[in-house]
Structures are given as C-alpha cells and as structure tokens.
Amino acid sequence: MVFRSKRSTSFVLLSLISTTCCGALALNPTKIQVCQNKGCVKSFPSKYDGGLVQTLKDLIPSTGTGIPVGENDNSVIIEASDCLSQCSNGPNVCCSGAANEERVFGKVDGIQMAAAVLEVGADVDSPGVLMAAIEDMAMACQCKLTCTISYIIVTMYTYCILNC
C-alpha cells in the first residue's frame, strides 16, 4: 500500500515536471535567424522564390511560423536578421534553441542544406515530398527568368542584324 502511494506520488511529480518542461519549451521556441546581408542573399540561388527565409518556412510541415512542429512539439520561428558576421561563409543561418545556445550554420546554399539545418538546429524533419514540391516551384520560377533572358537576347541579336 505504502509502495503504491509512493509510486503514485512520484508519478504525479514526474507529470508536473514534464508539464513544466513542455511549458518552458513552448515559451522558448527555436528561433532561426536568416542573414539578410547582400552577400548572403546573393549566394542563395535566385530560383527559389522568396529566398532562404521563404524556403525554410516552406520546408516546415505545418502552417506558417510559430505553430507546433517536430517530434518534441517545439515551435519554430523563422525570421530575417542583420549580418551574422560570417560573411565569407554565407548564406548564414543562426539557430537558437530552448537552452539559449546559438549555432551558426554556413553555406546554406540549397534546399538540401536548408533541410539539414532545420533537422539539426530545430529538430524538424522535412518530408521528401515537400522538398520535391519546392524544387518544382523553383523550376517554375526559373521558367520566367529563362523567358525574359531569351527575349532580351533575341531582341538584341535581331536589332544588331537589322542595323548591320
């Protein structure tokens, strides 16, 4: 009987601790800051509409930012930031977790790297289907660029021929 009551007390205590911890985690979501310095922005492929900030948001399998994602029910906030002072290593992304530790990831120059940063820095697993869909979107955006560039080249070439 005594053993039972001790066990139930410890169970209640454990429950209380876990609830408090979960509350703390929810209050301190993982914050991902994306460097918006000129060099970092230029280093990220322009085919991804909205740049690295939008790509990271797209890679999260939930709605918008600040909504619970990931295995530990953490939340992730993705935001643009000033220079992270590691310009030679750009594009840079800084992840700060619940324990306030900061990790800066460099060379985040593609969708694979962005997904890896989310997995390591925020414990968010991006499904392959999501990555494939983002690649399709990037290709669709690239069509626009190709069309404009082709148009300019053809116009200039024909103009030169006519003038000569």
Binding site: D49, Q54, D58, S62, G64, A133, M137, A140, T158
Partner: protein
Amino acid sequence: MIYHLFYSFIGILFSTFKASNTGKKLKLLNRAIQSLQDVELVQTTAMAHALILRADVNIDSIPQNIEQSLKDAMQAAEIDDLNGRAWRVVADAKEANGDVPGAIEAISNWAMKNPSFAGKAKKELERLSSGGSSI
C-alpha cells in the same frame, strides 16, 4: 516600316515564348500541388506558396484564367497568406474580373498584413479608386 515589322515579330515571338513557358510553369506547379495534396500536406506554407504562384501564372497567362486564380489565391490566404502576398494576388484577380470594390478590400488586407507595403498599398488604393489602368 521594317522596324514596325521587327517589333511585331518580336511581339509574336515573346507571346509564343510566354505561352510555352506558362504551360510549363502550370505543369510544374500542378505537380507540386498534387503531390502535397496526396500526402496530406495541404495545411503547409509550401502549399500556400505553390497556390499563390499558380494564381499568379493564371493571371499572366493568355487567355487569363481568373476564376482558377481567384480560387487558388483565396485558398492560399486561408492557409497562410505569406505576409499578405496572397491578398495582393486576390486583388489582381478581382481587378481583372472587374470587381474593383473587392480589389480595394483585398489591397486593404494586404496593407494590414504587411505594414511595410503600406505606401505601395496606398498608391494602389488611389489608382483603384480613381478607376485608373493597371500600368
């Protein structure tokens, strides 16, 4: 005369380019949206983003597909408006559909969601209120 012909030729060439590219873009975006629907990732930012891109393409295409564009943009706004970007597309679609009051409302939503575009929104509202052209 020759320059007139030249510019007509370029215009036709551009339209052809645009048409083929629109087809390609739609195909890719349809594939992206379909794949997200298949695995029940409908409530994701990526889905909203893809819908906004498709709505944009449908407005730019020749002929325009305003109905589909409006449907996509509204659905995107419900999921995640990407800082009001969905409302910007809704405004374009409604304006193309001749619904100026609806476009004004959508522009107001855009400005509310993204205050950094307040200046642009104000100009757009002035243009729409005066019944000006889109250029």
